[in-house]
């Protein structure tokens, strides 16, 4: 227990997410590498994919793994940013970023917005590059699209997937830690 919010010990780290992504991706390629498609499609887990080719089904499965892993990586960033925010708010640290985050806390407490409040605060009160924060805020639009069920046609301006999101998340966390 730190301050008012009870923090869990269940946060994943980015390397945890990367390892999970690698393991599940490798297992998926192995699973679909059966040279006999008839044998493969006899597997009960593929009953819902009747009529599709092995390549198409594998691609669908890998795309979902990719989306879920990207969502998880960006959620790691949010968890780190928010727990760091609460720690600085409760511990009354003296650095510029601590003071700025505490000023937000005095108004918004636990309701601070990730992008408009916390990430912009990091941009304006630390050495984290504007460009990196801007790219991360863009990536969180992708995260929100995933988290809210992808029901609208997104206009991100660029392609996002696990491979693009992970290094961005890693660079940001390295910058703030």
């Amino acid at each position: 227990m730190v301050g008012k919010v009870s923090l869990s010990d269940q946060m994943l780290t980015l390397p945890d997410v990367a390892r999970h992504y690698s393991a599940v991706t490798a297992a998926t390629y192995d699973f679909f590498s059966n040279p006999d498609p008839a044998m493969l499609f006899a597997h009960p887990s593929l009953a819902g994919y009747i009529g599709l080719s092995v390549d198409v089904v594998r691609s669908k499965v890998l795309t979902e793994i990719d989306h879920i892993s990207a969502l998880s990586a960006l959620s790691c960033v949010e968890a780190v940013v928010r727990t760091d925010y609460l720690r600085r708010a409760y511990n009354k640290e003296k650095s510029k970023i601590s003071r700025a985050l505490r000023a937000i806390y005095q108004v918004k407490e636990e309701r601070a917005r990730l992008d408009d409040d916390l990430l912009l605060c990091w941009r304006d009160n630390s050495n984290v590059s504007n460009l990196l924060v801007g790219e991360l805020i863009g990536a969180f639009r992708y995260r929100n699209w995933l988290a809210h069920g992808r029901y609208w046609t997104p206009k991100f301006g660029r392609r996002y997937d696990f491979s693009t999101v992970y290094p961005l998340a890693d660079a940001f966390l390295t910058s703030i830690c």
């Binding site: 660029r158 992970y166 890693d170 660079a171």
Partner: protein, 174 residues
């Protein structure tokens, strides 16, 4: 009123001019990306040429690629056939974070991502956008490198030996 209208006209003209320049820049980005795909195609064919008599085959087909800025266009996809395995070098796009393009080399047992970045880049740059005007900053010398699987972050130089290793890996696994 006249001055106010003049200001309006100048403002609208400037917006139109910016939009035209933006459209030209996107077209240039696309052309550069397509030329780099051609260069990769040549590189792959040069590296694999010696193995054609042993049975490796390469072909190129045009595939539709859709990016938000450009809409749908055709881009070359290299296909390598080794025995029963088919490896595709799928063009992913040029409007990415921290890179000028990406091709995913996918085989039956795995994937290897090739990324178009400045020659000096060792790790992701996050310097893609906003792009400076061409007259302000020269376009860096772009080369194809291998994007490591996270959590590793350092790019791997793309050489013939590394490419052949990656090709074996996406076919046989490991």
């Amino acid at each position: 009123m006249t001055d106010k209208f003049m200001h309006f006209v100048q403002e609208q003209t400037a917006v139109a001019s910016d939009e035209t320049a933006g459209a030209m820049s996107i077209e240039q980005d696309k052309r550069r990306w397509l030329s780099k795909l051609d260069a990769l195609n040549k590189l792959v064919n040069d590296w694999l040429g010696a193995y054609v008599p042993q049975g490796i085959k390469t072909s190129t087909k045009m595939v539709p690629l859709t990016e938000e800025q450009t809409g749908t266009y055709q881009a070359p996809q290299i296909e390598i056939t080794v025995g029963q395995a088919v490896v595709r070098l799928k063009p992913i796009g040029t409007f990415l974070i921290g890179a000028w393009g990406r091709v995913d080399m996918e085989g039956p047992r795995g994937i290897c991502r090739l990324i178009l970045v400045p020659k000096r880049a060792k790790t992701p740059l996050f310097a893609f956008s906003p792009k400076p005007a061409p007259e302000q900053v020269a376009m860096p010398d772009l080369v194809w490198k291998i994007m490591p699987t996270p959590p590793a972050s350092a790019y791997i130089e793309l050489t013939r030996e590394i490419f052949l290793d990656m090709l074996m890996k996406v076919v046989r696994g490991g």
